[in-house]
Amino acid sequence: MTPSRPFLPALLAGLLGACGDPGPSLEIAGQRTASRPSGNVLRDATPSQRFSASAPSASSTPSDDVIAYDLPEGWRAVAPTRERLVNLRPAGHPEAECYLSFLPGDGGGLVQNVNRWRAQLGAPELDAAAVAALPTHALLGRQAALVEAEGTFTGMGGSSARAGFQLLGLAVSEPEGSLFLKFTGPAELVTAERERFLAFAGSLRLSAGHGTEGEVHGPGDGHDHGPGAAQTEPVADSAPSGLRWTTPAGWRRGPARSMREVTFLFEGGGECYVTRLMGTAGGLRGNLDRWSEQMGQGRLADAAFETLPRVDVLGTPVPVLAVEGSFTGMDGRTLSDQGLLGVAVIRDSDSLFVKFTGPAALVQAERENFLAFLTSLEEP
């Protein structure tokens, strides 16, 4: 037999298979035995249980964990979807909906988004000035434009037109991302629920714990102790010694250096670091005086020392030194308009110094973060 024969029947079968329709009624021919059922059978499961991510058996989507809110009275929560982070049925009305969505990027800009909504109700377009003049309302820490429109609602499908509808929406459009909170329904309902809607919008917040659930890291990508990226939100972190803290938003951890617990680097040349020295290391006053001198301000006056504001660091209330002036570093260079924030936690066994230096404007701007960082410090 020539080896060319096997494919002739195959070809024939292929030809038949391609042309033949098995018809409108067919016996199920396939049968197999599986070692376990493919799927968790829930008798008479509701569609919401079967399809939506919030069902208990779902492999988690982050949506329901991320955002918390106070549900307005009489409103009903519907399962969130991939696009709708929060999905509500206002006053339980079947034709009304209210949902929060997030888009990465500016989604075409605020003007375009506002007009997209308005167009869905047949309302005329607004120009940029009119959009800029829209009233605003807080939405997840941002000022969102409040959009209102009334008319015949055509929605996205464009098919099921509903007369006498109203839209109430909040839109934020920034390059980092866009937030849309949209409430549509019969006009009388929307008007009646307006206050509840705004209260609900104000109650939206990121739930605690969000932000610590990191993305998946590859092994050995240096995430643990190497230099890192600036965090957009506070993140818990620690040094090899066991010292723990919460890195303030926008702080970037620098490379590990000898004799330092941790260093943070800032654009424009600022740095903040924690040093640990043995013993009392020159004492509290001595160190603060030295720092003040480094900034060209001479030793602290007694009165000034006494009146320094205090914060609790590692269980001890310590004075926070804040000086501005010209900083003279070890290399002899002098930089003007510098600022310094520093605390010294002096203990018998060892002492901890936290020092933030950099351009005065930076130091000032980061003051709150610095204080938050101090209070977040913990030891094992």
Binding site: R257, E267, G282, G286, R290, M330, D331
Partner: protein, 656 residues
Amino acid sequence: MIQLTRLGRLVLLAALLLPAPAAAQEDAAPRAPWSERVVELAAELPIQEGGRVKPLDTYAQFRMLRMNGKRKLKLADGEKLTPTPWLLDCIFFPERARGYRHFLVRDSAVLDAIGVRVPERKKSDRYSFDELQPGLDRLFQEAGRIHKIEAKERSWIEGQLYALATNVRDFEDLTHALEFARVELPTHEGPLLAARYGAEPLRGVTGFLAGVPGLRTDFAAELEALPEEAQEVENSALEDVSRAFSQAVQLSGALAIFPPSTLAEEEWLRVDGAVDQAASGEDPELLALLAGWEALERAKGDPATFERELEGLQGRAAQLAARRGEYEKIPLEVRFYRGDYFTRALVFFLGAFVLLCGAWLAPRMGWIPKGVAALSLVGTLLIVVGVVLRCIIRERPPISTLYETILFVTGTGAIVLFLAEWFTRRRIALTLIPIWGALGLFLAMKYELKEAGTAGDTMPALVAVLDTNFWLATHVTTITLGYSAGLVAAFLGMRWILSKLLGLRRGDKEHYRALTRMIYGVVCFGLFFSIVGTILGGIWANYSWGRFWGWDPKENGALLICLAEIMILHLRLGGFIRDFGLAVMSVLNGMVVAFSWFGVNLLGVGLHSYGFTDGIALALNLYYVLSLAVVFAAFVWKEISRRAEQAAGDAATAKS
């Protein structure tokens, strides 16, 4: 080829955004030209980069190539620097190197964008760090912005700006590479420290490091024993020391030149890592290496001492690397690059080409063809030697990157032409060898430059799938031989068409018949390797991924060559084409080969797009246009000669 991780990108971005660290003080001592011995020793210092340990010389070459666009730098005073001396200058004499015009800017619009104006320079010219200095803030600002744009989406100017920013940053890193050796630690400020380290500030970090184990055990107790006032002074001094210390160590991170202490660790250390290890006191060898560099820095004004110190340092580093089995190829690699085989081969081919032109002018000189053959033979042998050395250095078959395919195609193509000449003795194939060799090596040079910019080496680490010498040796080699033969056939086809067009040897039927046979033979040769290579590729895919054929673009490209060449064979066997058709088809087949070799990589999809290519698109399009022009010319010639024959026929019938 090397993908930065997200983290890596962010670190790079941060590095670009941070202001340039101020240069520490350094003596602007005049530099005597580096002695040959020093250059030789420095060249063989081992460094880890791009996933492998290589000579400092290789590192210097590709850094210089990327920054400067070529491997030579002519200084204002007439001195010519090759890569290793240039790198030594950057490291040891930063002040001087900042005046070197080694930043190639291909378009002055880049400088306009950062507000730098240097009068009397060409559109594409070279600039020094000092000249760029006023625009650096703007440059890094721009780079920070461009960094957020996908590489594919960047405009040409943005790409150039980003490349310049990277080069400037790399250069600055090099100038800071010995910061740890230059730093002055104020150990004299604290009495306890002064008692240990002397009354003068300590130069370099190793002196301090050597005392660290002692400090660890005793210093705390000594400090406790002091009165509070003295403790304060001591602590202040210690803080100053540690600040200066860590700043210097952090700045000197350019080179991974310290072999790790244990064999299990594969990543070589930079200064910070070496300092950490040395500080533990458990690795005296690393401490000695650090000290060796410091001694070099101290001795840079004194050539004799410098040479002696470098000898010691090189020996020590080589020994440590050798213990890890990472040194034995280093001298060979230095020799390989010193040999510069491919540039020399190019010179020989060009020489042969010049002779060839002479032969056209003075056809009667019998020695000229022999000269062409001899020069071409040397050129070809140089390619062979170069490729073989690369195989030995990498411990791999000849081809594992796109760059190496160019060398291989050039070399094997020349050999095929030589064989054709050997069999026919008609000086047809011979005349093509110089042109073939020169074009191929020129392409290789350009491609090497591109690789310097993207991969920083032409012997890069391979992705996991490619890490198999068996398949690299079989599939990759055969398929590339197929490319080579296909292009040689196209060359011969062009030769046939152009000869006809120019009316060369008009009456010599035997000449053209031989040429046709040659084309046919080379196409058959190519088909053999293309088919076997393509199927082997499928078999590899089947053994690696479980599918013989996946319609992946690179696979399709190989299939296109096979189909085109099978078609040529059947067209000829069926009598559809003859000499003319064969010549035309072989030229068209050459286009298919070019598409398969480089074109599909430009499509940007598929498993095989390992070599992504920018300037290559231009060369490729040029080749397509040239081929089409030749084919077009062929048809024009055909039409003209048909009319001429017809006219002659008409005249003949009219006569009768």
